[in-house]
Symmetry: C2
Subunit: 206 residues, 2 copies
């Protein structure tokens, strides 16, 4: 399986490095990384190259311009693929959410690209916990997935457990559940301030 | 300490019953309950009576009309008191939040009544877990408090631990943290649908 991590920032870098960390040759990331290093200035081409290359794509673009960034790639390169949207639709400092309550970035992307299998996951937590959940409480906490395509979610759950080491994944249903997972960002930020660390996560206890 | 639970619905009933459950005479709730039972139709008078009676007040009014309900009581009866705001500012089914992101109901109440010591707490969880957290995982999960008055928060934390049995309370800082705790409602609702039970809560793991 070839992964493509779309984005320009630290989130993309760490996700890509994680997906390449065990067997670089298998996942195809090193060629992409080499290409990126050779063409650091051509960001739009990087996005398109990444999208064409990957079989499962991860959206790690900036929250404020995520839909627009994906539009520069175009539906032709994205259609039919799984797109894991890890983005928080926030901007500013302290971050303020740009879409809430009756809509979400996950839904906006799905509406913009109806033939892409959008799965919202991994958002609203530390980047380091995204890719290495066992750093905290030996992984005894939760990550959520939601999306309209059941088979896509099955593949994403397999990715989360096998590649990233997540022990507990909760499938929240269709893509509208992204409202809920995106809206926990303000609590996450305040907790991070209070605990003075980003190294925590939510566990659902019953 | 006399408590007053302001509201007309099930939340008020269960909170009031909990605060009265061990030693009814101590907390003063039975007289209020008797009075309420004798005057079920006079809701505004009930609110005012409750506010005058209680030393620590709990706001359990309907989310959509919470500020207005408190205004019917008036600042004179509320000023100087601690008001624990447990309300979700939501309406409709499925519930949609009426204030999000850059404001919160907790802040609206604090702005409307600057001399009331508003502490947001207990919202965004099952009513049954609010008052009996040890029903789930023996209480090994979290409740949050936030507010501008440190002494008021200390008293509320004592109430939560002593009267309700909460083991883990996190003080998130000033009342603006209510944005975060109110905005986890959509995730809570979706989790409740997914898990097919309201008997769960969030634990913060580090």
């Amino acid at each position: 399986m070839k992964f493509g991590v779309i984005g320009a920032g630290i989130v993309r870098q760490i996700l890509a490095a994680t997906l390449a960390r065990t067997e670089p040759g298998i996942y195809g990331n090193p060629p992409l990384r080499q290409w990126s290093e050779q063409h650091p200035q051509i960001q739009v081409d990087t996005f398109a190259h990444t999208a064409a290359h990957g079989e499962i794509l991860l959206n790690a673009t900036a929250g404020g311009v995520s839909v627009e960034a994906l539009q520069t790639i175009g539906a032709d390169l994205l259609n039919g693929k799984i797109l894991i949207d890890v983005v928080q639709p926030s901007s500013g400092m302290p971050p303020s959410l740009m879409v809430v309550n009756t809509d979400s970035l996950g839904e906006q992307i799905q509406r913009t690209f109806p033939q892409v299998k959008v799965v919202k996951s991994l958002n609203s937590r530390s980047l380091h916990i995204m890719v290495n959940p066992r750093q905290v409480a030996d992984g005894d906490h939760h990550v959520f997935v939601c999306g309209n395509d059941a088979e896509a979610k099955t593949q994403v759950i397999e990715l989360l457990t096998r590649e990233f080491g997540w022990k507990h994944v909760i499938d929240l249903g269709d893509i509208t559940a992204a409202r809920g997972t995106e809206m926990i960002l303000p609590l996450w930020l305040r907790l991070s301030d209070t605990l003075q660390t980003p190294m925590f996560n939510f566990k659902i206890v019953q």
